[in-house]
Each structure stands twice: as C-alpha cells, then as structure tokens.
Symmetry: C2
Subunit: 342 residues, 2 copies
C-alpha cells in the first residue's frame, strides 16, 4: 500500500479549502478522493444549475452551493479551485479564477488547443497565480516509481514505447447526440483519452522531434480512431493509440536496451508494473496499490505547492502543458479535426 | 483439437514428394511438420554445403542430399519444392524451379520488393507452374476460423485492427554482424516480422487505400522499430507494429461494431481467440489447438492445390502476394529502407 504524504503536524496547518466548478462525473470522483486528505475540505461548488450544486454540496458537506460559476466564490475562503467542466469551458473559467487570484487545478485537456493553453499560462504568469493542468497520472504512485526506475536504468536506456487507451463509446447512430463525437464541443478520442498515451510519452521521453498522426473521423469531424507516432532524439519512437470504437487493453509497454517494462491496465492510474528481462529471468511485479480513484495525489500536490509558495508544479509545469498541447494541436492539424474558432 | 484434412483414401493416392532448398531453422521446422502428413515425404534437400545437406537428409530420412541448389533435382521425382533460404535467395531459386516446371512454395517474403515478386508471379504464370508464398498463417485453424467468424458478423462490422510482432534481437553493438540488421541481406523488422501484422490486415480488410509508415533505422539502414498505419474503405484503420527492440505481446485486437476479438499470442499461429461483447457478457474463448509448428497446414494446402490441378492457391493467391508486397514496398519507400539493386 502507498499512503499519500501528510503534513508533519496537521493540526498546526490551516485546513485547505477547495472549490469545484462543473459538477459532472469527474468532479464527483475528485470530491470523493478529497475526503481521503485529512487537511483538505470541499467548501464551495458551482454549477449552471443551482439544484445540481445544492445536491452535490449536500453529498460532500460543502458549505456553499452556487448556481453560477462566478457566485461560487461568494462564500467561504477558497484556497484552490478544481475546474471540472467539459473541455470547452476550461479556458473561460480558468481565466475567471486567475483574474481573481484564485489558484487553479484545471481538468485536462487544459484548453482546446495550443493558443488557449498559451493564453491561460500567460494569465497565470501575469497574475502570479498558481495553475496546473490536472494530469493526475504524474502523481500516481506506480507512475512516479516507473519514471524513477526507468531513469535509474532498470531497463537500460529507454528505446521505445507503445501505449493505448480505448473504450467502446456510443453506437454510430448516436454519434450526433454525444459530446464526445461532436467537434463543436471539443469532442474526439485524442483530447479525451489520447492525451494519456501522449502524456506518457512526454513524461518519459520529453519533447518529440517529429509528430505523425492518422485518424478516422466521424461525419461531423471528430476523431474516433487515432494513431499517433512520435519520434524522439536518437530516432526513438513512441506509438500512442486512442479509440472510441472498442475496448483496448489500455496498457503500456516500454522497450529498453536491457528489458521491457509493462505498465498494467489502466496504465494512466496503474497500481503496478512488471519488469521483463528476457526468457532466462522470471518477470518481477511491482505493486503500488492505493485506495480511492487516485485524484488525491494530484490534489495533495497542489496543496503542497501552494503551501510552499510555488506558482506552478515542479512535476507537471506550465511548460509541460505547453509542450503537450503543441503536440496535440499538431496532431489535430494533421488529422483535420477543427474546433470552434480555429 | 483440429486435424488437417486427409485424402479420403490415402492408399489410392501416390505419396507426395517434397524437396527443400536452404536448410536453416525454418526448413527444419517445416520438415518436422511434414512428418505429420501421412502421404507426404521429404525426398530431396539442397544446400550450398553438401555436409549440411547430408546431415539434414539423415535427420529426416530424405533420399537425396545435394551440395548445390540445382543438383537437388537430380534425384527422385519432386512434386513441390519449399524455398527456405534467407530473403535474398528467394527470387533466384524460385525462378530456377519454375523454369523447370517444379511447383514452388516460397518462404515469405516472396521477394525483396514488389518488382521481384512481380517477376516471380509472371514466371509462374508464363510457365504455368504452381507458386505460393508461404503465408502459413492463412491455413492455421484458429485464423481460418477468425476470418470465418468475423465475416459471419460475430463482432458486427469490422471497424479497426491493432497487431504487433516484436522480439528482442541482438544488442546494438552486434547490429553489424547480424543478417537481420543488414539491408544488404534484406534485413529489417518489416520484411522479417512486420509482414505478419500487415498480412493480417490484408487478410481481414483487403486492399489499403492509404499507407503510412514511420520507422527507426540502424546506422546501416535497416528498420528496427516500425509503425505502419493502413487505411481501408470507410476510413477504417489498421495499425501494424513490428520491432526488433524488445519482446511485445505479439497479439492482435479486432474492433467490431458489436464487440472485440482478441487473437491470442502469437497471433500468426494462434491456437485460439476470445470474443468480447461488452461488460455485461462474459468473454468466450475459442480454441483450435494443434500439434507441431503449424507448417503442416500450408504444406497440405499446396498438396491439395496440386492434386486438384490448381496453379495457385485459392486462399493465398498470387494477386494476394502482389498486393502484400505493393504495401511492403511502399512502406519501405516511406521509411527509407533500400535494398540491393533498388
């Protein structure tokens, strides 16, 4: 078992007050995981529906429920806000918070495209206010350990990566009715789930030298089956697959000069990995299990950053987000997925 | 268990006489599997080394051992020859046999490039002599059943494919010493193992409308990590990965409109597959196990074709080989792998 870090003397530190904007499925999971952090509490929630906000607040004991995003901050002090609306709302709500000096953890993808992310990053820097894209995978114990062990040479030098993320979405006749298949709402496999394999590649390899995208689009123009090959220094390749056409293993394989590392499914919040060193050596399994959904680790990281006076995460920085979205936007340019205003 | 077809009255049919040219590892496996066919026998073997030929003949009870390929046919009647040399020898030896009117089963890849394959196909048609590329996977019982069950709609319409073939070759410092890493000898992942995922895509989808290849090359110019995306009518995609950098699962996932089919590892001679129809329905496993390596099925197919008077296989035709090598040659053009004479 892994336990998240605790403040050495929690009673001496003020409780950390969270707010959430956008109260869908991911907000609920995040709120559940906040309950696993002793010195965190959810104090305010905002939705376009006051009824929805009140129900959510009641479920999680939040003092303040607001029927508009702006009114969310009319209640108790908020130390950080989690922006959890669909993609298309991220930019506007993040800017709203940053302009008020409220630290933001913004659900991924931070923006619809590089230009939006750049505007948000610039706003954070200009207002000197904390901002992090909610790439929670960076903080999942097994993934922290994978990065450490790979960098320590557990599989020699890293030579290649193959990762996938796929689930079966709605049937073709319902494509028009679902956000995920509607480019006007930021839909498509790439931004929703393809971001994870591409994040993993960046997490382990850094900046790509080449980007190659091929995808299948719906009639409305959202990508549903998306193949991305990235090239890194030394000619090394990472292949990142995302699909809404069916369930894939959603795992990852790292090829090293001296062995393979298999990141268990679902790799982006894995509880373990296996090291394989050829036919002669039995594979070893490494478990870093946790309870809850795993969002407590990113929440704790935000709290630690803010208490230490940091304006961005040393683990998933604003430059990391800019790089990730440079890649995603270039893939979309190649595959021809166009979002509103582009 | 699956049993290969037997002639209804084997005693009434003459024994089928096989010869093998090129006596490496694959020739040995093929010879072992021939022993599983009652009415087949290995009568002649040819190698550039008489010593090697004699040892091989002794191991498998072949009457005639020749120290040159041409002399292989100086002994008993040969009904078909299996050309099992490295890639670079396929064209010359196949033409040698066809010009003598000897039916040929030629190890894959049939030629180094489309031009070689076209020349070989033309020679077969001109001499009216049987020729088949040894795409043994076409005849493996589980793969025959996968094609049948997919075409019967077991997973609805076929919407996507993901297949890989990878093993750990020699270390980088030994690249120069190994055929597999030497383009002068037809080396590279694509032609050696990448041919299987691409074969599977063609077997199930037919002719691609688009071909996208990205690969990492060695200093000598052989591909060692090769990503191929193929597009089919309706925008459907197949991703075909091959690598010499490490062991991959070497399995395949078919995405259908109504479920997934997982072809077990190693997919190109799989003993089974699983059908997945969503979270509500338990997966079903389908086994078509066999003994031996599985080469007996292609050998039996050749025998059946010749006894029926066919000049090519109805299962893996000469046009199928032309199409496959059109794809492979286009991938090599894109990734920049150049073979002698190109």
């Amino acid at each position: 078992m892994c336990y998240i870090s605790r403040a050495p003397n929690a009673t001496a530190i003020a409780t950390f007050n969270w707010a959430i904007l956008g109260l869908g499925k991911i907000a609920r999971k995040f709120a559940e995981d906040l309950q696993r952090i002793d010195d965190a509490r959810l104090v305010a929630v905002g939705s376009r529906s006051l009824e929805r906000a009140r129900a959510f607040a009641a479920d999680f004991g939040a003092e303040h429920a607001a029927g508009s995003y702006a009114a969310t901050f009319d209640g108790p002090r908020v130390d950080a806000v989690y922006v959890a609306t669909p993609h298309t709302g991220h930019r506007e709500l993040t800017l709203l918070c940053l302009e008020r000096g409220i630290p933001v953890l913004c659900e991924k993808p931070m923006g619809l495209n590089y230009a939006e992310v750049e505007e948000m990053v610039n706003a954070a820097r200009r207002t000197n206010t904390y901002l992090m894209e909610a790439l929670w995978s960076c903080f999942i114990p097994a993934l922290v350990e994978v990065k450490r062990t790979v960098e320590a040479g557990a599989i020699g030098t890293l030579e290649g990566l193959r990762a996938d993320f796929g689930f079966r979405g709605v049937a073709r006749e319902d494509f028009d009715r679902d956000r995920l298949y509607n480019p006007a709402l930021g839909g498509g496999a790439l931004l929703d789930i393809g971001i994870y394999p591409i994040w993993l590649a960046q997490y382990l390899f850094g900046a790509p030298e080449e980007i190659h995208g091929v995808a299948r689009l719906t009639e409305l123009g959202a990508d549903v089956d998306t193949q991305v090959t990235l090239r890194y220094p030394g000619g090394r390749l990472a292949h990142c697959y995302s699909t809404l056409l069916g369930a894939t293993k959603t795992d990852a394989l790292l090829l090293g000069s001296e062995g393979e590392l298999h990141l268990h499914s679902r790799f982006h919040h894995a509880h373990g990995f296996s090291l394989l060193k050829g036919d002669e050596v039995p594979p070893t399994n490494h478990y870093h299990r946790f309870e809850g959904h795993g969002y407590q680790y990113e929440a704790r990281a935000v709290m630690d950053d803010l208490r230490a006076g940091r304006k961005e995460s040393p683990i998933w920085s604003l430059d990391d987000s800019l790089l990730l979205h440079r890649t995603l936007t270039e893939v979309r340019r190649q595959i021809g997925v166009v979002y509103p205003g582009e």
